[in-house]
Assembly symmetry: C2
Homo-oligomer: 255 residues x 2
């Protein structure tokens, strides 16, 4: 008897960003696994169990959920944002690859969600309107030298850059180092957007430039977008925040 | 009197990928603008007008919608996927920047959606589980030399690559040229995913390798994901499609 494991994304937090598919997966699961603060966003249901675990326990959480699904349960793992972007879907696949052969027979369903960069971009206009990349600044997961190499490559080639996991209490200097690195390649006028908790009561959006970007605007839950040399800032009247967008076309071959 | 312009994303097509916010925006707009096939996905409502326009008429569509909103209407522009990713939000921002000053006073709201790369990734596992980029192959919008430069930069730095607008009747050779280019840098064993129409009756997903990737699997509506040297393919039993994922961590600094 083999159950089902659904890995689903809650989006940035406000229920209005949930897809109908995610709502349905949350309603039908017998047991929910997840990082505590994400589970706290899901209303409690009778006859539905929940197993909260700590941040950075992704492998343990994936293994527990796979074992329950392997035993026949209908299980869901709850991720913030999109489960496939720096989140639980890759952890689950990794445990399937390394786990017992019968886990490959589990009915694995990944339900996409609104990842942070899409939510933050929507709040300010269209900074991801042309070629862009998404890069995690966590050097728990890769050497810092590789982060710097990817920042250089992306900036030099003219990609807009979305930075996930910009810093944390244990990684306080990484975002400042990334800005310093990018200033070597990008103009100081390149727009920078800090966005956190889109749609939640503690939402905070800051639009600035690379020259003025201050890592103090970011915490663990912040997504940072660094524009390219093409990205534009439109001032508005009446106290409206400026718009930030990257044009859909590029005229010249050398950014 | 200034109205509101909402630019919203329908996701990959099936209504189960719509967010509650998009459903609400569709219900309250007085008039919908969009590319005909996207509008056709939205149920007709009494007392709601709709203005369909052709593909590649983004500037004209944005201008018409801004003029209507500037005159006081509650207007929505309907995009496929996410409106901020190679879609209408950037076209609207560009027309605001270049249009009459009063357009800057329009209440512009961008409602994010599930963009194609997230939907396709979810169908096969977690190929976007670590650093990745999104690149349009349309050389209507930028010189082909710049496309090649960005492909080289992304592949050499170890980003997984999501290719939007891989080809069309008017651009038949670009995807093949991109594969040939990427084969210079990436191993032939790198997984490649072709995905189109996720959640729709004509959904088609193909998982292959860079060495074997055939552009004939793609059309205008296909999203292609090219894995990095880190991306893994897990074979499964019982006729299940293989899983594709990119591990969350990278051990070595040189991919």
């Amino acid at each position: 008897m083999t159950g089902r494991l659904t890995v689903l994304g809650l989006g940035p937090g406000d229920p209005r960003y949930l897809t109908a598919d995610a709502v349905s997966a949350l309603a039908t699961a017998e047991v929910l696994y997840g990082y505590g603060p994400y589970l706290d966003r899901v209303p409690v249901r009778p006859n539905q169990d929940r197993c909260a675990s700590d941040n950075r326990q992704e492998g343990v959480r994936a293994t527990a959920a796979l074992a329950a699904a392997g035993a026949g349960a209908n299980v869901a793992i709850v991720s913030g944002g999109d489960p496939g972007v720096f989140a639980m879907a890759a952890a689950v696949c990794q445990e399937i690859e390394n786990g017992p052969a019968e886990w490959r027979a589990i009915d694995l369903v990944v339900v996409p969600g609104i990842t942070a960069m899409l939510a933050v971009a929507a709040r300010v206009g269209a900074p991801l309107g042309h070629d862009f990349c998404a890069l995690s600044l966590s050097d728990n997961l890769k050497p810092w030298a590789l982060v710097e190499r990817r920042l250089d490559a992306a900036a030099a080639a003219g990609f807009v850059i979305a930075l996930y996991n910009p810093l944390s209490r244990a990684r306080p200097w990484q975002l400042g180092a990334a800005f310093a690195h990018l200033r070597r390649t990008l103009p100081g006028s390149a727009p920078v957007v800090f966005g956190r908790a889109v749609g939640r009561p503690d939402e905070a959006i800051v639009v600035t430039t690379l020259a003025a970007a201050d890592p103090a605007h970011a915490d663990m839950a912040t997504l940072v977008i660094v524009g390219s040399a093409e990205t534009r800032l439109i001032r508005r009247h009446d106290g409206r925040a400026p718009l930030v967008y990257t044009p859909r076309s590029v005229e010249r071959a050398t950014p």
